[in-house]
Symmetry: C2
């Protein structure tokens, strides 16, 4: 292999790294792509855990640019709304939007990752190196150190793109520079996955076209449909305390607790107790940093720049949006340092706003979605949207079903709320005055 470095060296062949490699190659640029894991095409799912992701319009847009939208949509399951599972009583369904154009797609992370990695490997301008774990980065001269099955290896990169996730080695090097802001902040909640297998006829054991939520106040379970008829359930519980993961230590306790708190799920998960006791608990981190680039030498995308908690299903969508913006900035501006600065200026504020929204939406999902007041508000918002069209877009709609930048969406939602409140107050005043006129007669 020719050892001259390509124009771009991407560290991380995950969702963002592979997508970016494809997009850069299609723009005629040469890319070296390093990945710590082995080639996914040579093995089964990596790590043994099947995880699905919510794909929405921001992510779809980036896939469309690569001509991959259709194949992804075909393998996905449409989720048209939330299905709320109370402890007792009937299920409650809340549509996400006015029609199927406002719905989420449940996609397999492994499947999408393989598709993108395949596509990247097919590009003539892309060289892919698997089994390369980045252990050290010297930003000044672009030296990357890798641990490989064949031993230690060093390469010199002219321009590094850190697409290496929430625990990014590239960001680690940037963070050690003077005047580099950084924060990592964990939720007191963790997550654990369980599986609802397909029904015996191969179908789905619950409503297929919905994201299922069991809101329980301070904790919750959710389930996303998979194309094979199964659902992947995720428990979001505190690590410790009365509703914490650590409280359930025996099969009897697990069954007892689920029977009391998630009764309708118990018959759907045949290996409930053993899976609960075996499956690991993951932690949920929010990462922020600044700057996102080091001159024209290095830049961060996706989780490496801004890991968020998963409660809006926007992690991958935001990462893909980063990639689209970065490609655009590189296309407009031949000087890489300036292109990266433009990219950061356009994305950083939006990533910060998204991080806050994701944390806020956890409270919404685990607590508020169950309340009649919340349901009424959502219905009123969708009604206003139906009547006023694009003049009134609920915040959730703007985040999930438009490409309005996150920060702009939040600002716009605030303005809309002010207008609605003013209108309501004016209407109330009119009604009151009319009432006075009537009783005076």
């Amino acid at each position: 292999m020719n050892q001259d470095p390509a124009e771009f060296t991407i560290v991380g062949n995950g969702l963002a790294g592979a997508l970016l490699a494809c997009a850069l190659a299609k723009a005629g640029r040469r890319v070296d792509l390093y990945e710590k894991r082995g080639d996914p095409r040579q093995g089964g799912p990596q790590g043994g855990r099947s995880i699905n992701l919510a794909l929405s319009v921001r992510g779809l847009h980036a896939l469309r640019d690569l001509g991959l939208e259709d194949v992804v949509v075909r393998s996905a399951v449409l989720m048209r709304g939330r299905m709320i599972h109370p402890v007792a009583g009937p299920l409650a369904y809340q549509a996400y939007g006015k029609d199927d154009s406002e719905a989420l797609l449940s996609v397999s992370r492994g499947g999408l990752n393989r598709l993108l990695a395949d596509e990247a490997a097919k590009q003539p301008g892309v060289r892919v190196m698997f089994d390369h774990r980045c252990t050290d980065v010297e930003l000044k001269d672009g030296t990357l150190s890798f641990e490989t099955p064949g031993g230690h290896r060093q390469v010199t990169a002219s321009c590094i793109i850190g697409a290496d996730g929430a625990y990014s080695a590239i960001r680690g090097a940037m963070q050690r520079l003077d005047r580099s802001d950084y924060s990592q902040s964990y939720l007191t909640h963790g997550y654990k996955e369980l599986t609802i297998p397909p029904a015996e006829d191969g179908g789905w054991r619950m409503e297929r076209h919905a994201l299922h939520i069991w809101p329980r106040g301070d904790h919750m379970m959710i389930a996303l449909p998979n194309a094979d008829g199964s659902f992947t359930c995720t428990l979001f519980w505190p690590f410790d305390g009365p509703h914490g993961f650590s409280q359930l230590t025996s099969e009897r306790q697990v069954i007892e607790y689920f029977t009391r708190v998630f009764p309708d799920a118990v018959p759907l998960i045949p290996d409930l107790a053993s899976a609960y006791l075996t499956n690991p608990v993951g932690s949920l981190v929010t990462v922020r940093c600044r700057p996102w680039h080091y001159g024209g030498r290095a830049v961060l995308v996706g989780d490496a720049a801004h890991a968020v908690v998963p409660f809006l299903g926007q992690g991958m969508n935001a990462a893909f949006e980063d990639c689209s913006t970065l490609i655009e900035c590189l296309g407009r501006q031949p000087d890489k340092a300036r292109a990266f600065a433009d990219y950061e200026a356009r994305r950083k504020e939006n990533a910060d706003v998204l991080a806050d929204l994701c944390i806020e939406n956890f409270v919404e999902m685990r607590d508020k979605v169950g309340s009649p007041w919340f349901l009424m508000k959502k219905k009123a918002q969708l009604l206003l949207n139906k009547v006023f069209g694009k003049l009134y877009l609920p915040l959730y709609t703007m985040i999930e079903f438009t490409r309005i930048p996150y920060a702009e969406a939040v600002a716009r939602a605030r303005r809309q709320d002010r207008v609605v409140l003013t209108a309501l107050a004016t209407m109330a005043a009119c009604v009151f005055i009319a009432f006075l006129q009537v009783i005076r007669r």
Copy 2:
């Protein structure tokens, strides 16, 4: 040397590490103390920069417990208040408190560090190792890796105390653990030091018993007196922009700028232009993390746990208060993990509050201290304190001249403000009613 590890292994023989070693040794505990720099008693001031620090009651209390208060106070210079230097017009003096019990002490960092390091080295239970730079920490088994002039060295510690400052290696290891919150955040301002030498008769060229401030809105200069007749000036300016360090690149520009903005300082600093162009610009970081300990294996004190910006002069004082609290917790609770958890519970909230106060006080120092309204408010606060004694303590008084925990001080200041505002409103109402009575007659 006996290679069995002592009960405690302190990394960092700076102010907090040395003080803690003394205090632990005096409580009958054995300590190994590792320091990356060479023995300060064998060389001059380390790093070539003489820095002074404001010592106040929290720090003095810890020194008193070691019998070192008197010797430190004798070598310090009392600062009874702020001396404000406007661009033009007379100086304005603001007393810190009601008398000399409410004053700050300007002490030499190098001098105090040598005194404490000496005192630590004198303790029979303390072994001191200089020239040991900690490069890696394995928290699980307590392995510490050091770089020494003689090569690489590993030691196994039973209990590690990280007193290794804002860029702590011990904290670095803790930060890599799951669910460890961490943030580093830099100001857009940096600092540069300049020196006003003693007068020809050996005296001070400005008022000796004051902390001098040249407030200029978005930037400032301050000067603290040294015992030798000199003052150490510190510029706190933005790195870039119209009042930034980067704007002045020639001797002519430096003299021109100072003559315009800090005119009375120009004749006092003979090497102004060359010192400005030569001396480095330091950055100002706030560090927060959680947890502060790893079971009973490791714990952080001082800047390693909570680096703050220097605008309240509380960095060292808070670090010494950490040490006093840690000693107290270890004395009460033989189980180290519990003692460390107690210590963190007592200190973490206060450190967080202090970090915010320090940033807020930068705005106060560089901008508000020059305004007549600020002066009036300060005078009114001191008057209320004089009339009501301990019933009314200004926030600044509580921070600098009491040992009331920082968080409690802030809560108490808020309560006081509410009472004062209510009293003022009541008085205004009474005056208004009396006025109505008078004009009715």
